[in-house]
């Protein structure tokens, strides 16, 4: 059936071409509908319980989504500079969709001096003299509420905070706002030493810009590297063209699907074209290798026969590898993070689509453009090839130190697993950018001079109006803030308590310290000095809820989450049972989602490994087969996690996916290797030799594909995003590790085991009458017979060959499948034909039971196909199938019994 599927492209070229064309055009129609999502929302699990609370809190106290305009100048407090700032403030207010600009020109302060108190703007208009400017500076710097928010400690930095609203629900709102503000800043920038904007519009705009750049760069670069690698290793232009063709179609289908389904592109999607090109090419490489091998044995219709050969030898492994690779990507759907889920859907579809396209397109192209003759490989070329050198070096070690290799590998894995215990998770969008990126530098600058740009809220809720007129409750706000100061990781916090302490200080006069009012009446009277809008972010209208606004710059999710946890415990203790507290913020939800990464990763890994184990066990009808298939999957993953731990690489949305994707790909090589080994085991009783040959034959495509994958993933190092670059680097390293696992470690384990493929059992084509007629398989089911047969060896003999020689010892038993043989007894130089053996006949059973000299020759009178059963091998390989062993032994006993009875009968005559 698999062969028929492959031959479709060859036998019905027009039909397949038309079908592909229609489907491709359909998907292409989805391309214009593609959307991009760089929003923070996709980093927060949809079912995060904090979401609703955050929306409520943000709705009441204002969003944390604001842009900071950072202005630094050593001469800031001069009439000229302050005049420019005023102009900038006014110009910012004119930008459409800007709802509010807060700067020193909109701030109010309270000034208490010499027994007088005044509420006034920090600066109404630009001062005309230096003296006025210095007074303005004193006013501004005297207010502790503004230090760290609007002014640096030394006064050389000021900030303007711009709130924007997407009132028309514009699609490219971030970009529009960023461009509008940037255009304005570029006009004013020359007037100051440093001026920059940081906020959601810029972050989103940079994410999108970087995403476009990645798309434009990475895909074509991957294609180029692929072509060069294939040309280098395979010296075939067609071998380079075919993966490009299948990848192009896959990319169109995948992105078209995304367009039709409304699944947006995100920063992880940027690596899809590279992944498709690189991963898709590996199977194409295997197919081309098989095609060339098939050409060497083709006679009448070279292309068609070669395609048939390709289909029969590679068809099943290809489908298995498509399945395992797709499973690897699909397992990422367990993540709660939308970013990863969307990528999982897109990548899984891409892998499946690539499989379908490969099955249809490759035969189609080869049937038209494929060569008609096999290439003659120069023997020198073979000897000097990289794969050969690798195998030789591995073989030397395998022959001499197999045990040491296994123990060494185990210890190495344990060491790296131990290193992996230091892994930490992070999900901060700013960490997606390299640290030398201007955006990150600007963020750091703001953190150092003012306060971090990341904000979260601590909201305290009571059920009573005017609860936060009560000094006891205001004191709780202060205690929480004091605790945060002790924690030392958060830059700044502001609450109603700070406002009241400030007013109290100004009323008490010079040199008074900041302290809170003692009575609710005084609290209420102090609050009269604030406009409602001054307190919007800090207390609800009815004073039943208060909000502490916290600014920080912590990007390490693990650190942040642990401090937040500590804070939560303390807050609970401080507020007591009468109040409820929520510590909430967009960046907190994003960072807490990081913890989900770890859990989802473990879940995905466990499920994938289980699935691979089940599939492989079923394929080779043996749990041993399943376990063997896991070895080359687990080793690279252990090494990869260990390296992450050693190099302090965090587990983030990019690196979190490496393990499952790498397993899905690495196991492909194992499948090819095991399949070939299994095939060879049927032709030789020497398992070691079967391993050698399997490795020899599969090494080239395995190493070529692993190297190509490694190079292809390495292309991702050029990504604008650290998460993508880290994914690329780790995936590349994992591919290289898989060479080591597949070619050094797995062959050692393989040589101890004989596998029987399920498909082979199902596909075995032996004359049923022979099976039904032979006494060896009496009372055995078809499955049991096939299993027993596949454990044996198929030997071919020409007419006149001696299958068994008299007076020699051997533990082999034979079952004739086709042809004829004679049993000849030699006594004193005379030869007597004792019997003629036909298909279904069994001989050599005495030697099978106990080691003894053969009693006669068995010579082929025609060409014979016979199954050879080695006693030791049968007992080893069937020990997990005692039922089959019992029946075989019984049947052999029966045959022997019949033989004895015949002898007795004959002797009487």
């Amino acid at each position: 059936m698999i062969t028929k599927l492959f031959m479709l492209g060859c036998n019905d070229r027009k039909g397949v071409f038309l079908a592909l064309l229609i489907v491709t055009l359909f998907f292409a129609g989805g391309l214009p509908k593609l959307e991009i999502d760089t929003g923070v929302d996709s980093l927060i699990p949809a079912n995060d319980p904090g979401r609703l609370i955050y929306q409520r809190v943000a709705g009441e106290f204002g969003t944390d989504n604001k842009t900071i305009i950072y202005i630094k100048d050593s001469q800031l407090w001069t009439p000229a500079k302050l005049g420019r700032l005023q102009k900038l403030h006014e110009d910012l207010e004119q930008i459409p969709n800007v709802s509010r600009v807060d700067s020193l020109y909109s701030l109010h302060t309270i000034d208490g001096k010499d027994g007088k108190v005044d509420t006034k703007p920090v600066l109404r208009d630009a001062p005309q003299t230096d003296e006025e400017a210095q007074i303005a500076k004193q006013n501004a710097m005297a207010n502790p509420l503004y230090q760290g928010n609007f002014f640096s400690d030394d006064g050389s930095v000021t900030a303007m905070i711009v709130a924007v609203e997407n009132t028309n629900d514009e699609k490219n709102f971030s970009r529009t706002m960023f461009d509008a503000m940037e255009s304005l800043l570029s006009e004013h920038r020359s007037g100051f030493e440093h001026m920059t904007q940081v906020g959601s519009p810029r972050i989103n705009a940079e994410l999108k810009k970087s995403l476009y750049e990645d798309f434009v760069l990475l895909g074509p670069l991957s294609g180029l590297i692929l072509v060069l690698a294939i040309l280098f290793f395979m010296r075939s232009g067609l071998s380079a063209f075919i993966p490009l063709a299948t990848s192009t179609l896959t990319i169109v289908w995948t992105f078209g699907m995304l367009g039709w389904t409304g699944i947006p592109l995100n920063i992880l999607s940027a690596m899809l074209p590279s992944l498709i090109i690189v991963i898709g090419s590996t199977e194409d490489t295997h197919l081309m290798s098989a095609f060339f091998r098939g050409l060497s044995t083709a006679e009448k219709e070279p292309r068609k026969e070669a395609i048939e050969y390709m289909a029969s030898h590679i068809g099943l492994p290809l489908m298995l590898t498509v399945l395992t690779t797709s499973l690897g990507f699909a397992s990422n759907m367990f993540s709660d993070i939308g970013l990863i889920q969307h990528f999982a859907i897109a990548s899984t579809f891409a892998m499946l689509a690539n499989g379908i396209i490969t099955i249809l397109v490759v035969p189609l192209i080869l049937s038209i453009f494929g060569p008609n003759q096999a290439r003659q490989l120069d023997s020198d070329e073979t000897r000097s090839s990289i794969p050969d050198r690798v195998i030789k070096s591995f073989r030397y070690s395998q022959d001499r130190f197999p045990g040491a290799i296994l123990i060494g590998t185990t210890l190495l894995c344990l060491f790296f697993i131990y290193q992996a215990s230091t892994l930490y998770v992070t999900n901060d969008p700013l960490s997606y950018f390299p640290s030398d990126r201007p955006l990150i530098q600007d963020t750091k600058r703001i953190h150092e001079d003012l306060a971090g740009i990341k904000i979260f809220f601590i909201t305290l809720e009571t059920k009573t109006k005017n609860s936060f007129h009560d000094p006891k409750n205001i004191e709780k706000l202060k205690q929480i803030q004091d605790f945060m100061k002790k924690q030392g990781v958060f830059d700044r916090s502001i609450s109603l308590a700070d406002h009241l302490a400030f007013v109290n200080r100004e009323f008490r006069g010079d040199f008074a310290e900041l302290s809170l009012p003692k009575t609710r009446q005084l609290v209420a009277q102090y609050l009269m000095f604030f406009h409602r809008s001054d307190l919007d972010s800090y207390v609800s209208h009815d004073y039943s809820r208060a909000n502490i606004v916290v600014r920080h710059n912590v990007s390490d999710s693990h650190t942040l989450n642990s401090y937040i946890e500590e804070l939560e415990d303390t807050v609970k203790h401080i507020i007591g049972p009468e109040m409820k507290a929520h510590i909430i913020g967009e960046n907190l939800m994003v960072n807490s989602a990081a913890e989900n990464l770890m859990v989802a990763q473990i879940k995905a890994l466990a499920i994938l490994l289980t699935l691979i184990f089940i599939i492989m066990s079923a394929m080779f009808t043996s749990f041993k087969g399943g376990l063997i298939a896991l070895v080359p999957a687990i080793i690279p993953i252990a090494l990869m996690f260990g390296i992450m731990g050693l190099l302090d690489i965090s587990l983030n949305p990019g690196t979190a996916m490496v393990a499952v994707i790498a397993i899905g790909i690495a196991v492909d090589g194992t499948i090819h290797l095991l399949a070939r080994y299994n095939e060879l085991c049927r032709r030789t009783s020497n398992y070691k030799e079967a391993v050698y040959i399997a490795v020899q034959e599969e090494a080239t495509p395995l190493i070529v594909s692993s190297l190509a994958l490694s190079l292809g993933f390495g292309v991702l190092l050029f990504s604008n995003f650290t998460v993508v670059a880290q994914f690329g680097a780790l995936a590349a390293a994992t591919m290289l590790f898989s060479i080591f696992a597949n070619l050094l470690v797995t062959p050692i384990i393989m040589s101890k085991v004989r596998l029987v493929g399920l498909y082979q059992i199902l596909a075995m084509n032996i004359d049923k009458t022979v099976l039904d007629g032979t006494p060896l398989f009496n009372n055995m089911t078809n499955y049991q017979r096939r299993k027993a047969i596949l454990i044996s060896e198929l030997n071919e003999f020409s007419a006149g060959d001696l299958l068994v020689e008299q007076d020699t010892t051997g533990r082999d038993m034979f079952l004739i499948l086709s042809g004829q043989a004679e049993v000849i007894r030699r006594d004193d130089g005379e030869a007597r034909t004792l019997a003629t053996l036909n298909p279904g006949a069994v001989f050599g059973e005495i030697g099978y039971i106990r080691e003894a000299e053969r009693t006669a020759d068995v010579r082929a009178t025609t060409d014979i196909s016979a199954l050879r059963f080695d006693y030791q091998k049968m007992q080893n390989d069937l020990k997990f199938f005692p039922n089959i062993v019992a029946k075989l032994n019984f049947n052999i006993s029966y045959i022997l019994g019949e033989r004895l009875a015949d002898m007795v009968e004959n002797s009487k005559k």
């Binding site: 208009d125 005017n466 009446q521 005084l522 209420a524 009277q525 009269m528 604030f530 409602r532 809008s533």
Partner: protein
């Protein structure tokens, strides 16, 4: 006979009115403002009971009640005091302002929960709002004419009502080159300022004050029953409703405008003597439905910027 007498009388009255109207057309800005001042702002004793509703950008409202006392002495000294009465936590909070004959304004604030102390507040222009409202003292007691230049602009007709338009500039400003500080819209029939628009340095309206429920209270003197101030930039507004107004010397004795009166009537209570139990809030019994008033005001908004 009577008709013979009435017709000339009618003619004389009509001609006088026309003459008067004609003469008022010839008034310049300052003259108009002086007429405004003389008619409406000089009554020596005014006592008002007021309700204030402050509405923020989200539409949330705060309500206060206060007593207002204003007095103009013979030498031209104007005194003004606002004492808050509700909510109970701010009862006794007072703003006391005095403008001497030379126009120098001093303002003080009394917080009975803070100390037995009148704290001087530095004076600001009419943009200097007090105690979290959108009102400044000048908004309530009027501006000192000698501090400004007044330029009459083109008259306006709005809803069949004729208005003088007066631009206000600082004394040293060039009225043709600089933007005005504010613009008054003065009703031509009664010289009452119905609306004032305050401008920022770019000539944009950032605050608007409008008077409503305008009635004649005594002769040529008119007063409004409601004043609305809208802060257009910050998107909040304050509505002041006069629930009771008395022009009586007995309600506004001179000793009211002293610290002693405040200390006596709204004494400072030290924290240690304060009752810790939460007092029940009094229900606001508003004689006016604020929602209704605000929606009515929409109809009465006179001039769109």
């Amino acid at each position: 006979m009577k008709l013979f007498f009435h017709i000339p009388l009618f003619l004389v009255t009509a001609i006088s009115s026309l003459a008067y109207a004609e003469s008022s057309m010839e008034l310049n800005g300052r003259e108009i403002m002086e007429e405004v001042y003389n008619r409406h702002q000089q009554y020596p004793y005014v006592y008002e009971e007021q309700s204030m509703v402050m509405s923020d950008r989200n539409g949330k409202r705060d309500t206060r009640k206060a007593h207002r006392y204003s007095r103009v002495e013979e030498d031209g000294t104007a005194k003004f005091m606002l004492v808050f009465d509700f909510p109970h936590e701010i009862r006794g909070v007072a703003v006391l302002a005095t403008r001497d004959p030379l126009g120098v304004m001093t303002k003080s604030i009394y917080l009975p929960a803070f100390a037995e102390q009148l704290i001087e507040s530095k004076g600001e222009s009419s943009d200097g709002n007090f105690l979290g409202t959108d009102f400044s003292v000048e908004n309530i007691i009027g501006e000192k004419l000698s501090d400004y230049q007044y330029t009459r602009r083109q008259n306006r007709t709005i809803r069949n009502m004729q208005y003088f338009t007066i631009d206000v500039h600082g004394l040293n400003e060039d009225v043709n080159l600089t933007k005005p500080l504010r613009r008054h819209f003065v009703r031509q029939d009664n010289f009452f300022i119905s609306q004032t628009e305050h401008y920022d340095s770019h000539g944009r309206v950032h605050k608007r004050q409008s008077h409503h429920d305008i009635r004649a209270v005594d002769g040529d003197m008119w007063r409004s029953g409601m004043i609305l101030i809208e802060d257009i930039k910050e998107q909040h507004q304050s509505l002041l409703k006069v629930t009771r107004r008395l022009f009586s010397h007995d309600y506004v004795p001179a000793e009211i405008f002293t610290a002693e009166w405040l200390y006596q009537n709204h004494p400072y209570i030290p924290p240690e003597d304060m009752d810790d139990e939460t007092e029940a809030e009094e229900e606001v019994v508003m004689s006016v439905n604020n929602e209704e008033q605000l929606s009515q005001l929409d109809d009465e908004v006179m001039v769109q910027p």
